[in-house]
Assembly symmetry: C2
Homo-oligomer: 338 residues x 2
Amino acid sequence: MTIKEIAGLAGVSSAAVSRYLNGGYISEEKKERIRKVIEETGYHPSAQARILRTKRACLVGVVVPKINSESISRVTAGIGQVLSSRGYQMLLASTDNRPEKEIQYLKLFENYPVDGIILIGTVITAEHRKFLKNAKVPVVVVGQYTKYANCIYHDDYGAGKAMGKLAASLNQRSGGGHIAYIGVTRDDKAAGAAREDGFRAGLKSAGVELDDDYVRLSEFRTDSGYNAVLALLEEKDDIDIISCATDTIAAGAIEALHTYEKRSTAHRRVTVTGFGDNQLLKAVSGGIPTIHFGYKTSGIRSAELLLDVIERGEKIPIEMKLGFRLVHGDAETSLPHS
Amino acid sequence: MTIKEIAGLAGVSSAAVSRYLNGGYISEEKKERIRKVIEETGYHPSAQARILRTKRACLVGVVVPKINSESISRVTAGIGQVLSSRGYQMLLASTDNRPEKEIQYLKLFENYPVDGIILIGTVITAEHRKFLKNAKVPVVVVGQYTKYANCIYHDDYGAGKAMGKLAASLNQRSGGGHIAYIGVTRDDKAAGAAREDGFRAGLKSAGVELDDDYVRLSEFRTDSGYNAVLALLEEKDDIDIISCATDTIAAGAIEALHTYEKRSTAHRRVTVTGFGDNQLLKAVSGGIPTIHFGYKTSGIRSAELLLDVIERGEKIPIEMKLGFRLVHGDAETSLPHS
DNA sequence: CTGTTAGCGCATTCAG
DNA sequence: CTGAATGCGCTAACAG
């Protein structure tokens, strides 16, 4: 079905049909004839041909590292809210935490095309920078700092520091075991480097040093956190706090504690902490100390920023840093077993 | 940047560039000239113009009810795996559990366009059926039965029945409190109607009847499950099993138990069960009785089915029903508090 | 108000 | 092997 065929059936020109579709001048009589034909044929105009002409898709693409994540869904919820209120739709592409797929999907969106792209960033490689510099469509990066695009990121360093202070105080209160930290790759400047550096700084400000023997690396997955922590527990028996770079990893840490306790006689009180304020985790264990980032807010702001560039051609580059809130800092509910 | 400009800069015809891009006949010499120009200009061909010509996007659209879900991410993981191995890319659209947005995104994909659509179904309305009947591109429905499209669904009834039997046996073992069921809208034939009907049938086969006073409705969210269960607990004090239609709701149920126990003196042993085998839940509470559906498998199969239709024009309609596995049926680990 | 015309960027005939 | 010419489905002037 093409606009021409509809025009033929309705006995009008294709331009008339186009006007009907887009609200241009058209007589009631023809309007009715066209309506009927479209009704009967179930015709839908080809968005792609329209976009080829108009250069306007009313569509934005969002590239995310994974789909099964509360943080990310909060960001996309914010984005979606703004977008739909302003007549745009949102398409998602998930990269399974593979930076090379990010590039691939960025390019797909660029020339598919969409009007703009929001990238929920993980690792910013040279390839990323190259893309950002030359992109034909506006891009906003969320969750990572970059000078090559408008970006909205969180105070991961500050959050890490707050968590470090909390860990130090819990540690002193509990009478001094060791503090462990389960991090993620430092290639991820925000969740990897900044949180860990902040955490160390927070500890230090309370006079505690993080022992590198108690630091492990994990992927962004529960099972990976589980493995890392189980191995750690089997090696060290004087841990009282395990701080994890994400709540997903923290969930694995708690599971590892369960496993470990089942097969050992010694009963240990270990506090697990995370970052991200995952609701499911809160629900299940009664809540662990964690950091609430304004993910939904960053979604909202990023979409607004993007639309400003798209619609008003806003050219001034913007960097925006969003704060955080410490959750369950009272640590009353901080023990996985009550 | 257009193919014409590239042709101009390289001193060849646009057809030559097109051939270069698509692997047609071209001399080494021109190939090199074109390569260089493209390199320098950072030119990317417009996918949309190509699709307008070729009618082939190598792209499939997946419509999902929400993004923050382990079940759904397992399905999309399966889809993505097949797709990328066969040279396709995947775009996602999330509807926030709003059936009307489903239609909207189905239409977007239809004429955007993509080569095929996979719909992870919730409620199939008359509008859905109308769309499926007239769709210009092949559609596969996952998670719901429908006769208007190829579909892959799970044995929700059987799973419910198995869970009902388990609940009955746990109930008898624990010495007979009441069994509660937290369901979802019956408009969702699979997660709503089939699971609940199966659950009742399972109980019945063990001689137990589900008391409607102990049945509540929840949305597909943790907080909604929390509210439903808290209200239930305040009303009834003889519950020993709470079966929930999804693990997400079960997480809310467990949280409600925590809340309730904190403010009450009576200590009750309540088993919470779910459907879906969420890993995070398993991690955190040590695991509740739940149902493992082959979500990844249904993703894989659905993508294969879709590609068969797209590439080989397979015309024979297919319905596929996938089984399930009961997890933690031993109930050793079934209590939220050990 | 309306139809005719001319592309959007590309791939594909068809003659060379 | 190559370029000129045509049209995918649609919208935006333009002249009625």
